[in-house]
Amino acid sequence: MARTVISSATREVVIGGDQPFVIIGERINPTGRKILAEEMKNGDFSRVERDALAQVEAGAQMLDVNAGIPLADEPAILASTIQLVQSLTDVPLSIDSSIVEALEAGLRVYKGKALVNSVTGEDDRLERVLPLVRRYGAAVVAIPNDETGISFDIDVRFAVAKMIVERALDHGIPREDVVVDPLVMPIGAAPSAGRDAFRFLARLRDELGVNTTCGASNVSFGLPNREGINGAFLSMAIASGLTSAITNPLAEGVRQAVMASDVLTGNDRDASRWIRAFRPVTAVGEVGPGARRVNARRGGGGAPSSPVG
């Protein structure tokens, strides 16, 4: 089973089918966020700070950082944003841009092993991004489209994903450092988008042996109560093999779907994280009916993260 290790200077996160699902917080992204875009462009990163801390607090194990602002110096802004976020939190980052110069500027200042988001199967992109990924010892998100666009045929998409993995190997990037994005289409416009994604994810896991990630919000584009769809999608995708997602951990429906999926896949051992989050208490440490006993001699209460004794 592929294990993709991403790190900051002081913390490691492992993406893999036998690991808790990795939520990569999506909020640090000015696309469609007018105020954030304006602030970042003018060097005001207060909202970025709040978004970073709130997402980590809500359970994001990694953060995606994007600085795609129209008519702005994206490489410079992306590099500053990464330095700022790394000074605030120790979670590893995904460096998100479709501009190669911005990816490089981000990699240059990044401390640890980053996840580069992303490379497509287009020849010129592969030849520019993969050497960067190799030089900085990073991992990379692979988008399975090529010069001809995104195929609706899962076999074609699979072939492109396979080709990207092989090209990465040619560049000295191991298979486990390629994380494939299945490219989920909006279900509101393409009725087979769900089934296709689940089938594709299973093949990526079983036949290509890679980890996977995806934006988990695109699927619900154009529908009401998007969080409900996003949560159900994530549960079904995780069952099909998805091992990480770029999504919003502050959305309760998404957070619960992921946590419950970890319980159901056996990757939340003894359901300990689930229990810690949802035990119907009287606060930990409080005495009274319904409160869990405090194991003072062992320095605490609540559910241990591994069996004690």
Binding site: G32, G68, P70, I99, P186, G188, A189, G222, L223
Partner: protein, 230 residues
């Protein structure tokens, strides 16, 4: 509703039938819209009148409720599909009468960009508003846009992009139009998630359209303004 009865469209008078067609379009009932179209034609309505009063007006209502967050993407796609069924009946008749569409639009997603759902919605809303739409698809380079403008002589050029990396290509296309001295022959509309008003002005477009409903309203407004000025 257990006592649902089959509605006989022929039993309605013209005004009731048109209103019913608006409702059927709204609900994406393609067979019913096609039937209504045929009934009105059978009663001696001209194809232009059917188009304007039944179909275009129906899609206008759909567009408003989509804009206001009452209708959602799958519903708009169904409505557009129903509209198309009506249009399929009217198109040969309109061609025979020599009637002109209210305008002609060439649209496409720019080079390097393969996102087309938003662009398709815009195309359908424009058709619903009575425009003739020539859709160049995705990954459209400047040469392809220029060739289509030359061939179809539209009123409007519409460009879409979903990526910050691909949207600057709009400027490339507009520069190519300027170079050939034909920029002012066309109304240039741009749209897509990462765009904004400021970007639209910077690349020299005539307007930024936030969503498909706005695109259709803007297209109508600018075409009318241009005709009034001519």
């Amino acid at each position: 509703m257990s006592d649902e009865q089959e509605l006989d469209l022929t039993s309605l008078d013209d005004a009731e039938l048109v209103e019913q067609m608006h409702n059927d379009l709204y609900d994406g009932l393609a067979d019913e819209v096609a039937q209504g179209t045929n009934i009105l034609l059978g009663r001696g309505w001209g194809p232009e009148k059917v188009l304007a009063e039944a179909l275009v007006e129906g899609m206008r209502i759909v567009g408003v409720d989509f804009r206001d967050g009452i209708l959602f993407v799958p519903e708009v796609l169904l409505a557009a599909n129903a509209m198309k069924r009506g249009m399929a009946i009217l198109r040969p008749l309109l061609a025979a009468t020599g009637a002109k569409p209210i305008g002609k639009v060439v649209i496409g997603t720019v080079k390097g960009d393969i996102h087309d759902i938003g662009k398709n919605l815009v195309g359908m809303m424009l058709e619903g508003a009575g425009f003739e739409v020539i859709d160049l698809g995705i990954n459209t380079d400047a040469d392809k846009f220029l060739a289509a403008l030359e061939e179809h002589q539209p009123d409007i050029l519409g460009m879409s992009a979903l990526l910050t990396t691909t949207m600057p290509y709009m400027k490339t296309v507009i520069a190519a139009l300027k170079e050939r001295g034909i920029r002012d022959k066309y109304i240039v509309l741009v749209g897509g998630a990462p765009l904004n008003e400021e970007f639209s002005q910077a690349v020299g477009a005539d307007a930024y359209c936030r969503d498909a409903a706005v695109a259709s309203e803007t297209a109508k407004r600018l075409v009318e303004a241009r005709r009034a000025a001519a």
